[in-house]
Structure formats: structure tokens, C-alpha cells
Symmetry: C2
Subunit: 206 residues, 2 copies
DNA sequence: GTCTATAACGTGATAGAC
DNA sequence: GTCTATCACGTTATAGAC
């Protein structure tokens, strides 16, 4: 099983390298050679372990969406947390995730554009969202008059927009404000606290 | 000059086709053959008029950024409009722009990721923003105690996030809410009015 | 499992006729 | 200016030695 362990290890090395390169350059712009070089391995091993560039990409893509959407659904469906707490948890969770993997959001939106089937088939997004515990809580809050914007779709767009957009627009924003990486990350940390406050203002302002 | 007119026309046809295909697929994934087919013209004409795929791309990219950033700067620098009016104008302008060109925002963020030099060189974003009339107005509002979030950078991130993110996340959002194109556009139109209201709530909530 | 060498293919670009 | 035919190159993928 020493052999097995080494196999597993090289396979994981290739996947990790693929993730790094694909996140940064996207499917069409990355060459299998880039992945092999990043992994410090021979080009032929990629086809040996993953059959093709496309198969490897689909694995990375699937796992990425699973992490991204899974974490969101997990928080939205937690019956032990309030609506307010859910907002805080989502902001903190995604700001940490994207601070560690800054290329992930742009990778997701770019590749979903180029391969819409790849995600629509994989996850029953619609049911997962409309049947979530969050929706029940939100409707209750609307009925109780605590929320003046009654559309949960606007709510989730606004929340995700406030969280995700700075990471997607990072190059533009950093350039226009003259920020370095540390300053940018500092600002994102501040947003963990301010986004929940803003969202509460937003859902009462309509 | 009949000849000249025809030339101009084919050149413009190629540019229009290139814009369509590039917006949808990005630089790396589009083939010059795709552009030729979209334009209903011969492959060789692309090189005849634009020398190379890259040159053609750079023209499209430049014009796109010029339109996108130019419109924003124009509104931010207008000395005749109040801060509140500027928010309304920006929301209305970009929601209309992206409703007509839905692939534009994702094109911009994807290609800036892949060619960061291409934009950073082209426009002095930093000075344009920090020296804009908007910044003066914003600082005045802060000094007058009208705005409790004193960081204009957060302000612009939030505004752009609320406007742009729904268009970037469109495939995900449409799938998770089960919307068709008309319903989506309807929601975006609603946001022309609600975003300014939300932003006012946001800048007073911190 | 890992390497080298190479096949098979797609794509950007051009030469040259019209 | 526009077309057809083709070159030149880079890239994915595989065959076969080790």
C-alpha cells in the first residue's frame, strides 16, 4: 500500500495544481503543460490519472461549486440560527473563503458562463433554495412586519453582491483606490461586521 | 469613396461580430473562425483588417472599458448634480447598459483577470477617481454629518456590487429562483428605484 | 507509475489568384 | 477587397520503453 499512497499523493498534487492554474486562468487559457509544471510532474501523468483536460476540469469545477453552494445551503438550512445570525455567518464564511482563495469567485462566474450545463445539471439549485429553512424564516419575518423588502430574491442578490463583488472587481478596485493586498484584505475584514448592519438597513428601507 | 464606405462597413461588421463572440466566450475560448462566421465573412478578412486576433481583441477591450468607465466618470464629475442624483443616474445608466449587453460585465472581469496590464496602462483610474468631483461632494457630506460611513471606497464597492452583481451571477440567480429572461429584466428595472433607497440606508447605517 | 517521443488535431496567420 | 488553399505552430493525447 506504499504504492497506493504515492498514487493518491500524485493524484492530489495534480488536482491541487490544476485548481491553482484553472482558478487563475480559466479552462480555455490553461494548457495541460501549465498544470504539469505547477505540479512539478510529467505532462503524461495528467492523462494517466484523469484521462483528459476536460475531465480534470469538471472534477475541479464540481468540487468548487459543491464547496461554494454547499456552505451557503448549510447555513441557510440551519434551524438553530436566527435570520440575523445567518447573515453574519454567511458574510464571515465567504469573506474568509475568498480571502484565502481570491481567484475562486471570478473562476466560478467565468466558467459557468462558458459551461452553463456543467452546473445546472449538477445541483438542484432551485429546490435547494426555495425549500430552504431560510425562506421560511424570511417569510415569517415579512409576515411579522420586520422586513419591508418582501422579495427574498432581492435579499440574497444584495447580500451576495455586497460580499462577492469586491473580490470579483478586486483588480479595478485596488487600482482605482491605490490599495495594496494587505490594505484590501483589511477592508474585507471590516466588511464582516458592516455588511450585516447594511443588510439590516437595506431590508427595512424599501 | 464608394469603396471606402464598403471597407468601413465590413470593418464595422467584423468589430460588431467580434464584440458579440468575445463578450460571450472570452478571448481564449473564441476562435477567429467564430468571429468570421458570426460576421458572415471570410476568415482572412479579419487579419486583413486587424492584423491579428489579439489586436482585434484589444480594440474591443479598450472601447468596452472606455464606455464602462467613461460613463461612470462622466456622472461622478458632473458638478450640476447632487450626491443623491448621482446614485440614481449611475444605477439607471448601468442597469440599462447591462440589460442591453448582458455579457459585458462578465467579459470585463474575466479579461481583466487574464490581461491586467491591458487596463491598468490604458486608464489612469486612480487619479480619475480620487480627483473626481464626487469625492469632494462625498467628503462634504461626511463633514456635514449626513453620511456615517466615511469611506468612499466602501461606498463605491457597495453601489457597484448592488448594481453589477446580479448581472454577473445571472445564470446562478435565474436557476436558483426559477426565473425566465423577462422576469429577470423586470427585477433589474425595479432595482433602478430600490438601489438608491438602499444605498441611502447603507451610508447612514454604519 | 513514470518517462520520452510522437501522433493527431485545431487554430492563427499568410500567399497568391481573382 | 475578397476569396481559396495552405503553412506553421502549439496543444492534447497516446504509444511504448523503462
Amino acid at each position: 500500500m506504499g504504492g497506493k499512497d504515492i498514487n493518491k499523493s500524485t493524484e492530489e498534487k495534480i488536482k491541487a495544481a490544476a485548481r491553482t492554474v484553472l482558478y487563475k486562468k480559466g479552462f480555455a487559457a490553461t494548457r495541460t503543460r501549465d498544470i504539469a509544471e505547477e505540479a512539478g510532474m510529467n505532462l503524461a501523468l495528467i492523462n494517466y490519472y484523469f484521462r483528459s483536460k476536460k475531465k480534470l476540469f469538471e472534477i475541479i469545477m464540481s468540487e468548487t461549486i459543491a464547496v461554494f453552494a454547499g456552505k451557503l445551503m448549510q447555513i441557510l438550512n440551519d434551524q438553530a440560527t436566527s435570520l440575523e445570525k445567518k447573515i453574519e455567518l454567511i458574510a464571515a464564511c465567504y469573506i474568509d473563503m475568498f480571502t484565502e482563495e481570491p481567484e475562486m469567485p471570478t473562476f466560478i462566474v467565468s466558467e459557468i458562463r462558458n459551461h452553463p450545463e456543467a452546473m445546472l445539471k449538477r445541483i438542484p439549485v432551485k429546490q435547494a433554495f426555495s425549500q430552504s429553512y431560510f425562506i421560511k424564516q424570511f417569510e415569517l419575518a415579512v409576515a411579522a412586519g420586520k422586513v419591508t423588502e418582501p422579495n427574498p430574491f432581492h435579499f440574497i442578490m444584495n447580500l451576495l453582491g455586497l460580499i462577492v463583488f469586491p473580490f470579483i472587481g478586486k483588480p479595478m478596485l485596488m487600482a482605482s483606490a491605490g490599495l495594496n493586498k494587505t490594505q484590501f484584505n483589511q477592508l474585507m475584514q471590516e466588511r464582516k461586521k458592516s455588511i450585516p448592519i447594511w443588510i439590516k438597513a437595506v431590508i427595512k428601507a424599501t
